[in-house]
Amino acid sequence: MIDALFEGLLLVLQWKALAFMLLGVVLGFWVGLLPGLGGATTLALMLPFIYTMQPVEAFAFLLGMHAVVATTGDITSVLFGVPGEGTTAATILDGHAMAKKGEAGRALGAALMSSLIGALVGAGALALAIPVVRPLVLTFGSPELFMLAIVGLAFIASLSAQGGRGMLRGFLAGGLGLMFATVGQDPQAGVERYTLGTLYLWGGLDLVPVLVGIFAIPEIIDLAVRGTSIAGDLPPGRLNKGALEGVKDTFRHFWLTIRCSLIGTFVGIMPGLGGAVAQWMAYGHATQSARNAEERKGFGAGDVRGVLGPGAANNSKEGGSLIPTVAFGVPGSTAMAILLGGFFLLGLVPGPDMLTKHLAVTFSMVWTIVLANVVTVAACFLLLNRLATLTTVRGHLLIPVILVLVFIGSYTANNHYGDVLVTLLFGGIGYLMVLGGWPRAPFVLGLVLGRIAENYLYISVARYEAAWLSRPVVLVLIALAIVVICYPLVQARRSGADKDAHA
């Protein structure tokens, strides 16, 4: 095993594989920065180019590109409040709030360093977990995966707002997201649901136009209303001095970063949950690290822990999602399903062979994730100061450029004007939510989880009827959901009692 580990490193360090990896990194860097241009789409576009490559070169190219997309996606999210990738939307909540306070450099430093640590944890998990992951994946059937989705939603709905009223709005937003996820042709019976008689809605609502609308439009309107730059009237000297502070923040909250990385890895391992879920679960966990209700108020207003959690989980999930792809041929996400196509194009069959005959190739993937992330983070740190000063550019110069990117970003989802209309409609909903004090995170998680949860619920009911509710892991997850819902209420009550006692 150790021999294969080093052989894998030597394979990636061969000049051709290294050159392809760097090419992939450069492509992934820009794909991540541009809103809407998804990592999975680019992976699919690049797939035909690997025909003539050796397996190690092909994976160095594809994984090198894919591994860095989430890292640079965080940059767009932090600087402009527009999700660079669907998987980097959670970084906006605190990262962009920090940018508006003149702490763009610190937020970027934290996002990049936590991304690097997340990638290293994910790659380490991939290397270590291959022999032991089989029983874990097999323990989770459809009922458990459905409950896992519910726990995730309960997590974010209960933690994204304060008190009973906030929790009601959190669950309402989550439920609304789940409802919008049912739009389109039903996967079981083929019934057209809520399509309003249009062909466009048959495939359901695409995540990218919805995400871009719900997050970017309120930010653009607010930037226009303020009439200043993103960082307001803060002195420019402060902006680019925080990168090192962001790096230090990562180590100050080192165990939080590690825990969020493990959450990302775990979500990545579970087939079908997808990368967009990992960031919100990690964000929910990060908010839980607040010691009291007062401290929790800082989340959404620029708490660095809200950047560290999603940043770490986004990158660690890649290593995690490679585990079932390589070991069982079960892709953990859309991108992994495309990568699986790459395996077949190269004549490799995922499964036991990848853990025995082609173990060095498997380890070369681990090294690619590590090296690609190290190279990207190093390059980003060199550019960080210049990137941070973008937040001082006058608003009326940024707005048309951001709006063009928002419109084209959503249009590229299906190359349909309907995508842009969806962005505007959800932009309106997002604006009302922000205006009314409703949390947007549960809505997005509901939308992401809706399709998955529906499939798992249907299979659970069809296969086990009501008995699925009595499976041991399901019971544990139900208990966990109850704890997650009750915990903030108990915490708020306790802090209220403490205040009374002090008074």
Partner: protein, 156 residues
């Protein structure tokens, strides 16, 4: 303002969820299971929210999310919000009528001239730079298909 937005959202969700549940009742159980499992509690929660807004406290709940700026006078905020929405909707209308390749430079130029009050030279140069980026990346490199706008289609 926030309670009006909450009321609008709550009422909107009530109407949408009621329609969703009524629609789902006519489907086979396979297709209706999830919409009903979600739609009914969402309707109940939305009703609770509406009642809370109408008869309960109007205090704003603390959320972990972005907050709109509040330092400007209400009339200025309202006017600027209306203007921003106007520009966004206007850009969408321009895209539909003229297609992206024409709407993008037109929107950027008009925004800089009218909203940004920039000089002719800067506005033209900035527009050319944005158009070059758009044309080079999305048209030349990625070959994104941009269908003709309604006006071009009508003229043709």
């Amino acid at each position: 303002m926030h309670s009006k937005a909450s009321l609008a959202l709550g009422l909107g969700i009530m109407i949408v969820s009621a329609w969703a549940v009524i629609d789902a009742l006519a489907w086979p159980w396979k297709a209706a299971l999830f919409p009903l499992v979600i739609g009914i509690p969402v309707f109940c929660l939305a009703t609770a929210e509406v009642l809370w807004v109408l008869f309960g406290s109007t205090a704003r709940s603390e959320i972990m999310d972005f907050q709109l700026s509040t330092h400007l006078p209400a009339n200025v905020t309202l006017r600027r919000t209306g203007l921003a929405i106007g520009w966004i909707v206007g850009f969408f209308v321009a895209v539909v009528l003229l297609s992206f390749p024409i709407a993008v430079p037109l929107f950027v130029f008009l925004y800089l001239k009218i909203q940004g009050r920039e000089g002719w030279r800067f506005a033209v140069l900035f527009t050319i730079a944005v158009w070059a980026f758009f044309h080079g990346l999305f048209e030349r490199l990625l070959h994104l298909p941009f269908p003709a706008g309604w006006i071009q289609a009508w003229i043709a």
